[in-house]
Symmetry: C2
Subunit: 473 residues, 2 copies
Amino acid sequence: MKQLEKLISQIASRMNAILFKQGFDADLYIQKCIPLDKMNKFYAFYGITSSHPLGFYFRHSNLAGSYFLGKCAVENSILYKSDIRGDELKAQGDIFHHQGSDIVLYDDEVIRIKGSFLIKTLVHNYSHNPENLEEFSILSTVSMHYANIHGSPMDGCFLGPFSTVDLTTLHNCVVGAYAYLQTGELSNKRIEPGQILISNKDLFDFSYRFSSKDLNNYIAFEPGKKPHGIFVDFTENRKKDFQKLFAVVHLKARIKISDCASINRYAVVKGETHVGKNVLVAQRAYLENAWLGDGANAQENCYIINSRLAGNNVTAHGANIIHAQLENKVFVGFNSFLQGSLNCPLTIGKESIIMPHTIIDLKEPLDIPPGHLVWGLIRDRKDVKEHSILLKDFSRVNGKFSRGLMHFKGSGSSFVKAFRDRIEHILEANGAYFDGSKNKGHAQMGRDISFNIIQPYPRGPLEGLYPTIAIHS
Amino acid sequence: MKQLEKLISQIASRMNAILFKQGFDADLYIQKCIPLDKMNKFYAFYGITSSHPLGFYFRHSNLAGSYFLGKCAVENSILYKSDIRGDELKAQGDIFHHQGSDIVLYDDEVIRIKGSFLIKTLVHNYSHNPENLEEFSILSTVSMHYANIHGSPMDGCFLGPFSTVDLTTLHNCVVGAYAYLQTGELSNKRIEPGQILISNKDLFDFSYRFSSKDLNNYIAFEPGKKPHGIFVDFTENRKKDFQKLFAVVHLKARIKISDCASINRYAVVKGETHVGKNVLVAQRAYLENAWLGDGANAQENCYIINSRLAGNNVTAHGANIIHAQLENKVFVGFNSFLQGSLNCPLTIGKESIIMPHTIIDLKEPLDIPPGHLVWGLIRDRKDVKEHSILLKDFSRVNGKFSRGLMHFKGSGSSFVKAFRDRIEHILEANGAYFDGSKNKGHAQMGRDISFNIIQPYPRGPLEGLYPTIAIHS
């Protein structure tokens, strides 16, 4: 493991040099938190399809347990059980709209991960950085368990566990656990744990921050220790169900689904589960007694348990839905944690928007009416008042507006419109609107994927490192 | 499958152009014999180890079910369940001895397969062609089920089922079913089915030919049909045991073995099987109630069933041993078929040499005494007299000598010495003489191999073809 240990040190020392100003000590996060012995145990895999341009390049890296789809290059990096899903990368000749301009793509876009350390991190979508549209670059970045890097090129950053950086270019930032950022661009900032920030320069700013006390129950991360809390326990308790999927080369489908839906063969399907038409169930999604109506989707690392989603629902990367009934077109954002129970079920009315990083952890049955925007931490009916608003009412806001710990300024209608447009885009991209010939999306294009399995050197100085591999069509 | 069908046609038409003079019609062998639907069903795999230089390059090819170890490049070819085992390839700087000269290798040797069609073929060892020592090239060659290409570069050849070309460079030859060639070099020749030829220019010539009638029981191959006969039935009946090995990513070892022995994870191990020290069990070997003493080996596609091998035994590629007791250092050559039964067991005394392509198919119990050379077809004690000779007696032959259908001329002692030297070399290469530190061979170096799994495009015009892949250290 000599070379692997050297590589880890190199990544750590570079992170320290970059994040010195932020008082960051990589040793405490990388060297002491990472189970070196596991880096050798899991195979990596990449998808071959006829729907996505093919291009992989792996060099001087460890890729244990990671998943790749679409063009991707990884150099001098460590990826552990990360999902690198490049099925929305831009193609040569595509047109990117930016502040009224149309920019034509020179080449197919590539996800480029160099000198980085990603652990159980999701990378998805495409670069929203107009300065480099052909490359979704994640350079010298360390990202912890279940962080999402979504449409967000970054360099020299540290992302805490369960954090999400969404449509934001970051330079040399430290992002705390469970923070959510959607701000266009940020440099040399330290974002506190549990901070939610959505900012569109001239139009609006939305912010909310979880109290440290509340957040620590769910996800706590102290230097030198592993992340812990309810979020971690929840996934750890279901780890075994995934192991069976990885043990076999080909997996027989557990349930029958329509021709225009797809369940990734690395998703768990348990109990009485139903998957309707135009449904996408992504890799590492977990369905148990889940009823997914037509056009619903279940993205990476999401858990849908004892729940019914009526149709055209978005369950974003890392979102959990337990003992809940969701009416049509309810949106559940990144890493949200909606936990009802048999005695305290959750119902959410149609077209409500559960903001990314919302925690609903019920002590009594709860019914959220249709058309609401919901954020923050909700445990009972009382909490709902401080953490939601009718979208119709919110659209009328113009200027400053606060509710509980949520602060907003700008145009409410622009905020609501931006959200609704995005939800439509997500449904479209995932294939929810496929009519048998037009509007194909991931649900249809993800049906036929061959997974190729790669493993590292089993012994010697290169133990744990993968050989250099270049794959193209 | 459009591109795959085109590739098959291209290979067939080139073969027809090359072998026109031999009256060869590739359509009858390739187009009509090959199950196109299976070309898409099996994954290919290649081994990553720290003991063998790494280098793979696959382009415009189908590799279904094939196994690769050591440096190898495959272009515009179809390989179906072939074993490409490059663990004896020469390395840069190695010295090759040829007719008194020492030749230094410029580069690591690579197996290069281009425009070829190999089905269940074994490729092993290294190029013995002094004109091109850095490349073990198999160009525009079609090779059928269970043929062995051993140390034999070739171009524009057709190899029938269960044929073996051993240490021989071939150009534009047609080799019949179950023929065995070890002749240095051959051009534009047609070798009849069941012809055994061992020729060392100035020193000796050994020849034997199975009668067509006898051979057809074991392996018959008519243009436009699949190969059939006892050999084919034997392997077909045991096919299911292999399927379990391919279904899982990691296989748990069935039996405990010594630190200095190895059982490839793609070998079948059944019943009460014992594997001693310094034993190599290669991929696709089949052991059932097999007792393998120290230093024995079981090579690719061999079957050892209800048998005991005392130690330092060689079971060459494709050799079968059923209901037999083999004393120390008995050698069983390529594709030999030794079939005793509970009532008609076979015993072979120490240091006997069972020539490649020998069939012993017993109607009564048989005991072959020590130190014998054995060839041809043996069914009872009477047959032994016509198909064996004491090695000591054979060493005294000088000039012409015939026994039954076997014809020899030259120096018997040179022939016996060449065989004995080779057996020693094989035992050494396989690690039979490992003493805990020195004389490492495949038994020790094959213990730690990671297998990477690759699959073709699942749909679209490239269906069945593999993406271009380049892998190096």
